[in-house]
């Protein structure tokens, strides 16, 4: 699998995802500066976490209009796998590649802690190494992770199975008390209609090996390596 990581001014979890991709695939990803207008051929495009353009104006809004996003959009529409994590998720919604928006957390505070996610489906290139309904533990670290969409869109994405992950208890129950940001329906990640684009707020790239206290994020990258090899 050949991966390309897009670097925006203010990206900061680029290191984490580069390390994760390298550890799992054995190959270092290509690094693409945001002002590039051309993307090299890649099986996976990653928009990493961080604070692109300082998150000024609105999280992800300016990065969504940077030159490289035109090319990312073309590739996404052509079926190339695109993964947006945290700020990358915000950019994908701002760019219209994913439905919904990410608002400020319910309590208006940054939150960094481990949470549990329920894997909603395992028939995608991102999740085939997980078990159906598996509960995984990964961290969140964000200020604007409160997923929202209008009711029509919500009905559609729920109906089409576009929800990728939901916040849940360690036992797998949906419960508002473990929802770290107020996301509607506990949504932590969503797919596009074709399920080749995934955006999620939590950071599977920070739970790759046991030295990080947990390796539940690793199968996501293993899935990609296996399906996109």
């Amino acid at each position: 699998m050949k991966a390309a990581v897009v670097i925006f001014p203010g990206s900061n979890r680029d290191v984490d995802v580069i390390d994760a991709l390298t550890a799992v695939s054995g190959k270092e990803p290509l690094l693409i500066w945001h002002r590039n207008t051309e993307l090299p051929k890649a099986d996976l495009i990653v928009l990493p976490g961080g604070f692109s353009y300082g998150d000024y104006l609105r999280s992800g809004a300016m990065a969504a209009r940077s030159p490289i996003l035109k090319e990312v959009t073309v590739r996404a529409q052509a079926g190339v796998a695109v993964l947006g994590i945290c700020n990358g998720f915000q950019i994908l919604t701002e760019a219209g590649l994913l439905p919904g928006v990410l608002m400020a957390n319910r309590d208006l505070k940054f939150v960094c802690r481990n949470i549990h996610l329920k894997v909603e489906r395992t028939d995608t290139v991102f999740t085939e190494r997980y078990a159906e309904g598996q509960v995984i533990r990964v961290p969140v670290a964000h200020h604007d992770g409160n997923y929202f969409s209008d009711s029509e869109t919500l009905t559609r994405i729920e109906g089409e199975g576009q929800v990728a992950f939901r916040y849940c208890t360690p036992e797998g129950h949906l419960d508002d008390s473990v929802n770290p940001n107020g996301s509607i329906n506990g949504i932590a990640g969503v797919y596009n209609e074709n399920r080749n684009v995934l955006g999620l707020m939590p950071h599977p790239e920070d739970h790759i090996d046991e030295s990080q206290s947990c390796a539940d994020g690793r199968p996501l990258f293993e899935s990609l390596v296996e399906s996109l090899a």
Binding site: P9, N12, A20, K109, R137
Partner: protein, 744 residues
């Protein structure tokens, strides 16, 4: 400017914080009266904050050398060799005064400033820590200050993408009018690629990079060199505004330029901005500088030379490049969309000549300002010896006069200083970069070094109530506690940075606290082979004559050779033995038990026997490195029972189950004194029972006292089969205080 040059009056001199004798010294240096810009430059260069004029004499007594020290105090940060061609670069700095006035921006720019100090030297920052002191929770300002400071630290560190992995946060009425915000950054560099601030090479260009200069922060250094009164809030305009996004760009651009060999010297523009950075670089190299302020990127129109020279606008750097390398450097900064301007060049003159609009705005000799600032030997008085308090003097807890031990434990764990600070660190991204292997809440944070099994252990500590009770013990204890925290995770301690927070040095009793804390620190550094490599002094932390408790915050850094042999505090398995290493004397003086349970803030702090500290610590570290302990925790605030409870609470699984212990505490010492005494040099270890006898024998062979404490098991702590404390109750108390307080 020149047409409106004001007359230098006595009032103007006083407003600039210069004494009459300092002004006369300035006149002597110049052979004439300074103009306003020059007066401003003297004012900031000779401010306490920049010149260390009251502290220098004593700071010089601290040990700063060891075979592994690459660079001690005097540069932007200290540098230690961590092996394999790598170096750790670190420093802690105060941002107290601005944070009280404007907590979010004050704290945020404190983080920004210390990050720049570290990456200026060629290091990529890999971790932040902080030491926070707030007033008593009941004070009407405290909640607002905690919220603002924590959000500000998080806002800056989270955005720039450096994990905030550890620190301290405590409360005391002496900080009601002067909170402390001490920020520490640790960076990683190649040992042969360290960048320094000594200017060299006449004709070499002086280059300004980063943000534009505005009118913010003018005289911040002078503000930090005076005490507060009711009018403190009026100083709000002198607090700078931070932009972590620009700092992230500046970090990446500087590191990219540092990959070339174009840089001769580099210095961040921190306190006293362009003035101190240019004077310090030139002063160290014995060079002169011609600066043309017309070329300085400016955010506002009509700025005067005085304002440009004294602005403390953030996210700026000054560097001396090799001649002819300007374009190469410019391309890098333009890629990162940052200002880049050649603002002058080095000369052989030894003078700072500042021009603007074709006129000379200042012309000053550099050496007398940079290297020969006033130095004071301020009068000081020794602290009186506090009275010893014995366990027998304190009523035995019987449930009436004083609560039973189990009840006291719950109260202690939910007291402001011991309560969980999860509410704080949840707001700090402590995981970004993906290398945090011990998160906040343990003895020391541990951050793995990329591509290796090695790691750095990091901690920041101080016990101000000990320093207030007896400064010499308190100073030694602060150093020893950091050393112990590093040891408890299995790290070899390498060195410290100190952030010395005190009241006004012009009062002999405060100066005495400073002198004696330093003396204690010196003894500890020597005994533990643990030098000071960087630091900062913040005096004048007082309001209307009421000073803070003396607070020499210490940041410690150690190295772990393999994270496989690292210890954590969480209890691991049913049936394991718990053993105390070190001696119990039941010392209750100046303890948290005394303050929080008995309501007495008195007594001598626990003595710090540095020889024993070293012996016990070296023993524990060796055992950890050999993989003999299942867990380890040092005993500090709150004593033995609090430490055991912390180990049990840390064992919580994601589903919330916890592992407790059946404790058998010998009552050779009264139970409350054994449970809550704060004797130093102690560790609790969890060990597989098959190894216990060997451990006890190995300790005995080194004359190290040990004590069997009991065995892991159940979901509670039971004491001598009599008292049982539910861990879920303890957890609720421990985790609940801060969020409930903040919601209040």
């Amino acid at each position: 400017m020149s047409d409106a040059e004001p007359i230098i009056t006595a009032e103007l001199i006083a407003e600039h914080g210069l004494s009459e004798s300092e002004y006369r010294q300035a006149q002597d240096i110049l052979g004439r009266d300074p103009n306003l810009t020059e007066l401003g430059i003297f004012s900031v260069m000779w401010s306490e904050h920049c010149s260390y004029k009251s502290s220098k004499k004593w700071l010089k007594t601290l040990p700063t050398e060891a075979p592994w020290v690459i660079c001690g105090p005097g540069e932007n940060a200290g540098v230690v060799d961590i092996g394999d061609g790598q170096a750790a670069i670190f420093k802690m700095e105060s941002h107290n005064h601005p944070s009280f006035i404007e907590p979010y921006q004050g704290a945020a720019t404190g983080v920004g400033g210390i990050l720049r100090d570290v990456f200026t030297m060629g290091a990529r920052p890999i971790a932040n820590l902080n030491c926070l002191r707030f007033g008593e929770p009941e004070n009407s300002k405290t909640r607002h200050l905690v919220a603002g400071v924590v959000a500000g630290i998080g806002g800056y560190g989270n955005c720039i993408g450096v994990p905030t992995v550890g620190g301290e946060c405590t409360f005391h009425e002496s900080y009601n009018g002067n909170i402390l915000v001490n920020a520490m950054t640790v960076g990683l560099a190649d040992a042969d690629r360290i960048f320094y601030s000594t200017a060299a090479g006449a004709g070499n260009p002086v280059v300004y990079v980063g943000s534009k200069t505005g009118r913010d922060g003018i005289h911040g250094a002078t503000m930090a060199s005076a005490e507060f009164d009711e009018a403190a809030e009026e100083k709000r305009p002198t607090v700078q505004v931070g932009d972590p996004f620009t700092e992230k760009l500046l970090l990446e651009a500087c590191l990219e330029l540092m990959d070339t060999d174009a840089i001769v010297a580099i210095q961040d523009m921190g306190a006293a901005g362009l003035t101190s950075s240019s004077f310090e670089m030139a002063g160290k190299g014995g060079m002169g500088v011609e600066l043309n302020l017309d070329h300085v990127p400016q955010r506002e129109t009509g700025m005067t030379p005085y304002e440009i020279m004294l602005s403390e606008s953030q996210e700026r750097m000054l560097m001396v490049l090799k001649q002819g390398r300007e374009d190469e450097a410019r391309r890098i900064f333009e890629k990162w969309e940052l200002d880049f301007a050649v603002v002058g060049h080095l000369t052989e003159s030894g003078r700072m000549v500042v021009t603007m609009h074709g006129a000379v705005a200042a012309d000053l000799p550099i050496a007398p300002l940079a290297n020969a600032s006033p130095e004071y030997d301020r009068p000081w008085t020794a602290a009186s010896t506090p009275n010893e308090i014995h366990a027998a003097d304190i009523p035995v807890p019987n449930g009436t006069e004083l609560p039973e031990v189990s009840v006291a434990l719950e109260k202690l764990l939910s007291s402001p200083d011991l309560a969980s600070k999860r509410w704080v660190w949840d707001q700090y991204d402590h995981l970004v970069m993906g290398r945090t292997v011990q998160r906040p809440g343990g003895d020391a944070a541990v951050v793995r070094l990329p591509g290796t099994d090695k790691a750095l252990a990091l901690t920041a500590d101080c016990t101000p109530r000990y320093c207030a009770a007896f400064p010499r013990s308190g100073g030694a204890q602060a150093v020893a506690e950091t050393w112990r925290n590093l040891t408890a995770v299995g790290a070899r301690p390498l060195g410290i940075t100190d952030c010395m927070n005190f009241g006004s040095p012009e009062r002999p009793e405060i100066m005495g606290q400073f002198v004696e804390c330093i003396e204690g620190m010196r003894e500890a550094c020597l005994a533990l082979d643990y030098p000071v490599v960087s630091g900062n002094v913040s005096f004048y932390n007082e309001t209307n004559g009421a000073a803070i408790q003396p607070t020499p915050a210490i940041g410690g850094v150690g190295v772990i050779d393999s994270i496989d042999a690292m210890a954590t505090i969480a209890l691991k398995a049913d049936g394991n033995d718990l053993v105390l290493i070190g001696e119990c004397n039941g010392h209750l003086g100046a303890s948290l038990y005394l303050r929080e349970i008995a309501g007495i803030s008195e007594g001598a702090p626990p003595p710090v026997d540095l020889e024993i500290e070293r012996r016990n610590g070296d023993f524990v570290r060796k055992q950890i490195m050999e993989g003999r302990f299942v867990s380890c925790h040092d005993v500090s605030d709150g004593g033995l029972l609090v430490a055991i409870a912390e180990m049990a609470l840390a064992s919580a699984t994601p589903r919330g189950t916890m592992l407790g212990a059946h404790l058998h505490l010998d009552t050779d010492i009264p139970l409350h004194a054994l449970a809550f005494g704060e004797d130093q040099g102690r560790y609790i270890v969890e060990i597989d029972p098959v190894g216990t006898e060997d451990l006890l024998a190995a300790a005995a062979a080194k004359d190290i006292p040990t004590r069997r404490l009991g065995r892991c098991g159940s979901e509670a702590l039971t004491i001598n089969g009599e008292q049982t404390i539910s861990l879920s109750v303890l957890r609720r108390a421990h985790e609940g205080w801060l969020p409930n307080y903040m919601a209040g």
